[in-house]
């Protein structure tokens, strides 16, 4: 079902935890759908110097969180914003079709965390390509 890469990131997730006094926090999903992802970022000079996550969800959601946080660590906010769920899934050597939406959560959580940072810093939030947090569906 899952690739070795997914299983590796699921069994040994990177960046699990919280950041005290984070510069940005993004939480997406809802317990009703069974998946919640929360991402904390620490930003210095427009760069993500630290990132942590907490996820309530399936193996794919946990692996996506792990991989996504790995991918944005050390990146500028602009670079991090560009990370798509497809890129996360590809980095995991693919996800089952029914599980692609879990990677969307990761993209959205990062966007929310970045915008949280931007708003806190008096900047205009960027526009997310997903208008509605809830419009991911299991198919």
């Amino acid at each position: 079902m899952y690739s070795d890469k997914v299983m590796d990131h699921f069994m040994n997730p990177r960046n699990v935890g919280e950041i005290e006094n984070p510069d940005g926090v993004g939480e997406v999903g809802n317990a009703k759908c069974g998946d919640i992802m929360k991402i904390y970022i620490k930003v210095e000079n427009n760069r993500i110097v630290d990132v942590k996550f907490k996820t309530f969800g399936c193996g794919s959601a946990i692996a996506s969180s792990s991989m996504a946080t790995e991918l944005i660590k050390g990146k500028t906010l602009e670079e991090a914003w560009e990370l798509t769920n497809v890129a996360v899934a590809e980095a995991l050597d693919g996800l089952p079709p029914a599980k692609m939406h879990c990677s969307v959560l990761a993209e959205q959580a990062i966007h929310k965390a970045i915008n949280d940072y931007r708003i806190k810093n008096g900047l205009e939030p960027w526009e997310d390509r997903f208008t509605d947090d809830d419009d991911h569906h299991h198919e």
Binding site: M11, A31, C33, G34, D35, M37, T55, G57, A98, E139
Partner: protein
């Protein structure tokens, strides 16, 4: 701690017992004749099928002529419900079932709704029990069939089948029960319980996959589901699955020969495991009825975590189990059964079913009690919902 292979998903399927397989073996390469053929070699196959039919009849207190072999439990459910519905359309178009049936019943009922039938889906209480008064109230002049499962596959709850049968018989309504999970775990007497139709599947009681049976009480008006040759007294076409049927017969004989003793053993392991889980893992809820449940069934919800990831970690430790989480179902919603007993989505998501059976030993219980609390904790530590 050494890694073990622990199979605790007997409700999903069981292994075929070696004695059962042994009984089947001659019918593949040697005594393979078509049971409908008139030569001696075919008649011997026929005799083997009739012997199996008698064993099934005996296990249910039915007559051999009331047993029809099918390709599995789902086929039996489909046949019972569609067959009775279409054959009795002139009498009415109303069917009563519950919200916690297996999909083989639910989706069949939904299909019938599209064909002009009306279906009442009875609610259940927090333990998964139907209310007999609700049932009585749901009955109308047009009710032709009540189909209520004997025991639930997810939460193990056992319904008051004899009482339902009594109500149905008094009102002259056919009563079908999906007993796929019940056979071998509960004493079944179709006569005493006033059951008109009953579905079963061999692979749930240590028989082979791909074979089941439908009990149809003599006199029940029912259409065929699979048309064709004259097999099964013209009611179920298709060359008989000879080894499968022989295996089903052997398996039901073994499974029903000593239910009490067998259940005592399974239940004692189950109770030790359940008690251990409740003790060791906080924020845990038992789903299903505390007493009226299948002897091997445990269904618990761990707050703050999700079931699929739990299963993956259990699998890593060699433990086979099941969940009602939406994430493992491929659909948007968690198990309809857990919803029906009123669990909030997030609690349903954290559900775990452990179904014990003949493959389990006390060591398995020890092992799960050691592994499971760690795994739950590990996932909770990752969960944004959990405040340690």
């Amino acid at each position: 701690m050494e890694k073990r292979f622990v199979y605790m998903d007997h409700a999903a399927t069981t292994y075929t017992k070696p004695e059962v397989l042994e009984a089947m073996m001659p019918y593949f390469t040697e005594q393979f004749g078509n049971a409908s053929s008139i030569y001696t070699f075919g008649r011997r196959s026929k005799a083997a099928i009739e012997e199996a039919r008698e064993k099934v009849a005996k296990a249910l207190n039915a007559l051999p002529d009331e047993i029809y072999f099918t390709g599995g439990g789902s086929e039996a459910d489909n046949w019972a419900i569609k067959g009775v519905a279409f054959a009795n359309r002139d009498k009415g178009n109303h069917i009563i079932t519950t919200k916690i049936e297996h999909h083989a019943v639910l989706h069949t009922c939904e299909y019938l709704e599209k064909q002009g039938f009306e279906v009442t889906y009875l609610d259940v209480d927090e333990y998964g029990m139907i209310n007999l008064e609700d049932l009585k109230k749901a009955i109308t002049d047009k009710t032709i069939l009540i189909t209520i499962m004997f025991a639930n596959n997810e939460i193990g709850t056992i319904q008051p089948i004899a009482e339902i049968g009594k109500i149905a018989r008094e009102r002259g309504i056919y009563f079908h029960t999906d007993a796929v999970q019940a056979v071998g775990n509960v004493n079944i007497d179709v006569k005493e319980m006033n059951i008109d139709l009953l579905s079963l599947a061999a692979h749930k009681f240590y028989g082979p996959k791909g074979v089941g049976a439908l009990y149809i009480r003599k006199g029940v008006k029912i259409d065929n589901l699979i048309h064709g040759g004259g097999q099964e007294r013209k009611r179920r076409a298709g060359t008989e699955n000879l080894p499968g049927i022989v295996g089903l017969g052997k398996a039901i004989e073994l499974a029903t020969s000593n239910i009490e003793e067998h259940n005592r053993k399974i239940k004692s392991m189950r109770d030790r495991l359940l008690n251990g889980i409740m003790e060791k893992i906080p924020y845990t809820k038992l789903n299903g009825h505390p007493e009226k449940r299948l002897p091997g069934n445990i269904n618990v919800s761990f707050q703050f975590i999700e079931g699929e990831s739990l299963l993956l970690l259990l699998d890593h430790y060699g433990i086979c189990a099941s969940t009602g989480s939406a994430c493992s179902s491929g659909s948007l919603d968690p198990s309809h059964v857990l919803m029906a007993i009123g669990l909030p989505h997030e609690i349903a998501h954290g559900s775990l079913r452990l179904s014990l059976g003949d493959l389990n030993k006390e060591e398995d219980v020890d092992y799960v009690l050691e592994v499971l609390p760690q795994i739950v904790q590990r996932l909770r530590d990752m969960s944004p919902l959990y405040e340690s």
